[in-house]
């Protein structure tokens, strides 16, 4: 959990533009967007709908290329898909033809890990998120919360240094969301040095989880402000609402966010 600022940002977007053209319409999703992600930190990004949050993530992982500007990974410019980064989206994208075990093993499988190792690692992770006993279940037999848990550990299986998460708990009910947030923090705390970039539209979630919260403007997206979250760790997600420090920070950021949301209407 110790953020290493001295070692340089693990990820960096440098004056990035991203323009989408479709059917004659030109959409500037991001303009002159720069952001540094510090090693080992948990960074949240919030912003009004359509501000380009997902575009930022897609640029970082390499599924999209910038129209201008550059992406840096560990101080070297990176082009194309970055397979050293874990990517968790709102759609669980689990392979329906594989059971839980098969899905969790996939990342290790394509990297050539030994079957025994894969199996052990997968079973360990499955147990870590409380899904022991569900190894042979198929996707359709799992609830939304379970699917996302599998989605997350599937990415953790090959131990990436960075995890990018795009509103992973979006479609889940409020209670499940809190449980998964708590579980995510535990998983992260177990893995020293891992960086997480977490996108959400849910401000309490963003603050509760992160070391820093980035607030984006409405489209074309730019950074409006960055707020450090001084709440000490380890945190208890469930009781955070009562913490006055949390509430003050929330109200402060909310005012800024509200501005951006109104400006979009």
């Amino acid at each position: 959990m110790t953020v290493d600022v001295a070692a340089g940002p693990i990820l960096r977007l440098d004056r990035v533009d991203r323009v989408f053209e479709s059917r004659g319409l030109r959409v500037v999703a991001l303009q002159d967007f720069s952001l540094e992600v510090r090693r080992g930190e948990f960074l949240s990004i919030v912003g009004p709908s359509g501000c380009g949050k997902s575009t930022v993530l897609n640029l970082l992982v390499g599924l999209l290329a910038p129209t201008a500007g550059a992406i840096y990974f560990k101080d070297r410019q990176h082009r194309g898909i970055n397979t050293e980064i874990g990517y968790v989206t709102q759609d669980d994208n689990l392979f329906p033809w594989r059971n839980v075990l098969g899905n969790v093993e996939f990342g290790m499988e394509v990297r050539g890990a030994e079957p025994d190792q894969r199996r052990q690692q997968a079973e360990r992770l499955i147990g870590e998120v409380g899904l022991a006993g569900f190894e042979r279940h198929y996707r359709y037999e799992l609830s939304g919360g379970m699917r996302q848990r599998v989605n997350i550990i599937r990415t953790l299986s090959y131990e990436p240094e960075v995890m990018l998460m795009d509103e992973p708990f979006g479609p889940l009910d409020a209670q499940t969301r809190l449980q998964l947030q708590s579980q995510l923090l535990r998983l992260w705390e177990e893995r020293a040095g891992m960086t997480i970039v977490f996108i959400t539209h849910d401000l309490p979630e963003a603050i509760g989880l992160a070391d820093r919260v980035v607030v984006m403007t409405h489209r074309p997206g730019r950074i409006k402000a960055i707020y450090p979250v001084p709440i000490p760790r380890p945190r208890d997600i469930f009781s955070l609402q009562r913490d006055p420090a949390f509430r003050d920070l929330h109200d402060g950021i909310w005012a800024v966010l509200e501005d951006e949301m109104r400006a979009d209407t």
């Binding site: 994208n93 329906p96 996939f106 499988e109």
Partner: protein
């Protein structure tokens, strides 16, 4: 693209009831048994009606009756003609299918990699596919002769088109999200194809393979009806032409039986291969 509409939708799988919940499995079996009983009862009722009506409401010469048909069938079993006819037809079907299916999957895969070529060929594929088998049968006869080969080619053609269209569509409709997630996890292009695209397309491909089998059989029989020297279709055609309605009915019944058995077997194979698919909502309503 119109070929997408042509492709047969993959069958939604049936969930195997979780072995852990004993009563669930028992209930499913019991309802399947009940259904079977109803189906058999219905069949017997139809046969009984047929037996009774023939000679009273309908002229036996034109409709025959189950007792006569049974007698004729038994004769053909004894003198070996049934075995020979069924053998010929099944051989033609199997040959056409086993040649056409892999070819279709290969072409479907190749064309899915070349969208521009596919677009150019699309109307032609639809045109050839749209011609009824029976119109092509005489042509095949001239090309491939009166023997089994012409029927094999008919069966091959049906198999090819159905499986090809399904394979092509299946590969093209693989969810981009699945491919992306695989690539981000480090899968190479080849790995994405074998480990993601093919499995994701498998419901379509399997549906195509499955529906091709009865269609291949029909194609072979149609070919035999047009002109041949052996086979079930030949037997039915010959019987009809010599006003041996009993013989014709026997042939049709055997054909029906083969189709029913084939479908039963194929359904199980398909259900097993696609057991990971979510069960259809309708399954809950079938009591």
């Amino acid at each position: 693209m119109a070929t997408r509409e042509m492709a047969r939708q993959p069958d939604v799988g049936r969930a195997e009831a979780d072995g852990g919940v004993g009563t669930e499995r028992g209930a499913a079996l019991r309802s399947a048994l009940r259904l079977g009983v109803w189906q058999v009862t219905f069949g017997l009722a139809v046969l009984a009606l047929w037996e009774w009506a023939s000679g009273r409401l309908l002229d036996t010469f034109f409709v025959s009756k189950p007792s006569l048909v049974a007698g004729f069938l038994w004769q053909s079993v004894l003198n070996g003609t049934l075995a020979r006819d069924v053998g010929v037809t099944m051989r033609e079907t199997a040959a056409g299918y086993l040649l056409g299916a892999p070819l279709a999957i290969l072409c479907g895969f190749l064309l899915a990699q070349a969208p521009r070529a596919a677009a150019v060929l699309n109307p032609y594929i639809l045109a050839v596919y749209g011609v009824p088998r029976i119109a092509l049968a005489p042509l095949f006869l001239v090309w491939f002769g009166i023997g089994e080969n012409s029927k094999v080619f008919l069966a091959l053609m049906m198999t090819f088109f159905l499986t090809f269209v399904n394979t092509f569509t299946g590969i093209n409709t693989v969810d981009m999200g699945l491919k992306n997630v695989a690539r981000v996890m480090g899968a190479s292009g080849t790995q994405v194809f074998w480990k993601v695209v093919l499995p994701a397309a498998s419901p379509w491909i399997i549906a195509g393979l499955r529906v091709s089998i009865p269609q291949a059989l029909v194609a072979a029989v149609v070919g035999e009806l047009v002109m041949s020297t052996a086979g079930l279709g030949y037997r039915i055609g010959l019987s009809t032409q010599t006003f041996n309605i009993t013989g014709a009915m026997s042939g049709v019944l055997v054909l029906m039986l083969i189709v029913i058995l084939l479908n039963l077997a194929l359904d199980r194979v398909e259900a097993y291969l696609l057991r990971w698919r979510p069960p259809s909502e309708l399954a809950a309503d079938r009591s």
